[in-house]
């Protein structure tokens, strides 16, 4: 990953409390896993930003290296990697996600 890509990723996750790297957009997810994440965050009624990795090959590959995580979507909370679709589903079902988001967004 070149330094331009890295600084673009850092800028995205640092300027948005909840940043989702996904395939497609919030309104038109292009993959079932990305759609899961959007549905969960919508269900919790919180606002979040998304970046469509299909629009940018450098970010699409760079984000995997950035987090040492090989798949997309990826969710970042306050600059920290939270997980992908399976982890979000599990955290949502246990109630942990709601709690974690509320605490992070209140501080």
């Amino acid at each position: 990953m070149d330094s331009d890509t890295r600084s673009k990723i850092e800028s995205l996750i640092n300027s948005n409390p909840i940043m989702v790297f996904m395939k497609g957009t919030k309104l038109m997810p292009q993959c079932g896993f990305s759609n899961n994440v959007v549905q969960i965050l919508n269900a919790l009624g919180i606002s979040f930003e998304t970046f469509d990795v299909l629009s940018d090959m450098d970010i699409r590959e760079g984000i995997k290296e950035f987090s040492n995580w090989p798949t997309i979507p990826q969710v970042y909370l306050k600059g920290e990697f939270l997980g992908g679709s399976d982890i979000l589903i599990e955290m949502y079902n246990s109630g942990e996600l709601k709690e974690k988001l509320e605490i992070a967004l209140a501080s």
């Binding site: 896993f33 995580w69 090989p70 798949t71 997980g83 992908g84 399976d86 982890i87």
Partner: protein
């Protein structure tokens, strides 16, 4: 295209004690549901647990032989 048994073998190579079940979701050999139960996950966060499995499947994921992977990890009772 990968067979579920090949996915199981790759995971077991990295996590020998693991109990692994793999389901081919689309029948096309590239969308899998993977369940892994292993003592290696003890004390690890969910992210770290998933990273262990992803690590075992690095080759398959990087080459996009595996296109999508739904992953469930747990520790034996």
């Amino acid at each position: 295209m990968l067979k579920p048994a090949q996915v199981v073998a790759s995971i077991k190579k990295a996590l020998p004690d693991a109990e692994v079940t793999v389901e081919d979701l689309s029948g096309g050999g590239d969308h899998f549901q993977v369940n892994v139960i292993s003592t290696s996950f003890m004390g690890l966060s969910l992210i770290k647990q998933h990273q262990l499995v992803y690590g075992a499947l690095q080759k398959e994921l990087a080459s996009e032989a595996i296109h999508a992977l739904a992953l469930n990890t747990s520790i034996p009772n």
